[in-house]
Symmetry: C2
Amino acid sequence: MKTLIGVGVGPGDPELVTVKAVRVLRESDVVFVPVMGGPGPESPAAGRAETTIRAHIGPERIRRVAFALNDQGGLTPRRTSAWQAAASEVARAFEAGATTISFGTIGDPNLYSTFSYLAQTVRGMVRGVSVETVPGITAMQDLAARSAGMTGAGTVLAEGGESLVLLPLTGGAGALRDALGQPGTVVGYKLGAAAGPPPEEVRRLLAEAGRLDGAVVGSRLGLEGEDIRPAAELASLPAVPYLSTLIVPARREGVGSGLARPDGGAR
Amino acid sequence: MKTLIGVGVGPGDPELVTVKAVRVLRESDVVFVPVMGGPGPESPAAGRAETTIRAHIGPERIRRVAFALNDQGGLTPRRTSAWQAAASEVARAFEAGATTISFGTIGDPNLYSTFSYLAQTVRGMVRGVSVETVPGITAMQDLAARSAGMTGAGTVLAEGGESLVLLPLTGGAGALRDALGQPGTVVGYKLGAAAGPPPEEVRRLLAEAGRLDGAVVGSRLGLEGEDIRPAAELASLPAVPYLSTLIVPARREGVGSGLARPDGGAR
């Protein structure tokens, strides 16, 4: 019985992994972690997933695999070969006798993760392999909680009958504009990516939709250099770190106060 | 310094809490947990949050507060009084000397949680109270992972440039129909609620949109009586447990195969 487990390790803070993730990582024969970069001779630094995992297990079973994604999260021919190489490493570890192999991924393995591509490739290579995943905290959730320092009580993502749209900003300004036209919460991923609208354009779209108040942007959550600020400040930045997250709360009666105001009074 | 912390404890499986949540619960002077029901004399059973928390801390600091939500997650006058009573209990615990009080909530405290209402009310009662939250795994993420038993590899919520819409089905069939008309993933919460469309209507809407394949429904995730099945089986059920979750994966080339098929071959 061979099992490949995609383990979500959260957004970067080593405490934001689940008890199950820690157990699964400790019980795995091999734990693969992604490092960015090609298959070349450069020696990449530990990625976020590896740093989090090293806080919970010893280094002896951790192995790095190199690959990269483009701004759309899609695979170019060069990157497809990197996927093949990574999957081949996993297949070799199974051949060498491993029965349980984990692959650590930031955030959640089923939400904009690199894991689904890897699992697909491994399934084509290793007969009878079983694929599982362990959920992880996403950047959206972490930013909602961490923005308490800015707003006084965090950012409520959705409550009551509100809807929430999650979209990568690499799709361009149109999808963001459409989402802002609806009353629900809008969460944008990958703000700052070259393929997406520039930060000052995002700020303008929010202002035009009347949704700048309460909107927050965050990057490097839980890590050195963490940056959380009102989206209103976007225009004044020379650039935004890649992988920034944007939360635009649902239209509510009284920004930041929530749909329901049980006390009926002022904050 | 008085701090009220909303702690997400995940969907029900005691292992799906974060390391941070366990630490915060252990360091709190008092840990409140919700029990459903009015303020009457009945003695309610432990709720999901309490069951999860009892797996990690002793019972001596756990205190139950009673309240209820309607299908919209909104507050009726009767329920508003229950909120006031719950907030008053928290305020009394601060007055009695507690400096750190946790409130355990299933899922994530910023996503369709009862916590935002409570925090709002407490802030109106306790001068200078600081409000924080600790993120938790949501039912959507847990269902995506647990459906591996049904699909062989779980349900990918979103990858690459795909968007995802999350909506409570208590808003009626219209919002679901609109969301299904877009190509992105649709996640429906509270399937089976009296205020929402009946399960057979949900199944019909999915079929009409050509999106029944790959859609999954789950309830009581990680608990006794867990029920995960294809959405195609919805019509054959006499009823669906309240708080069921529906995932309709994004339109992809080859259902369940993911956008990218690096090997270009059959599964």
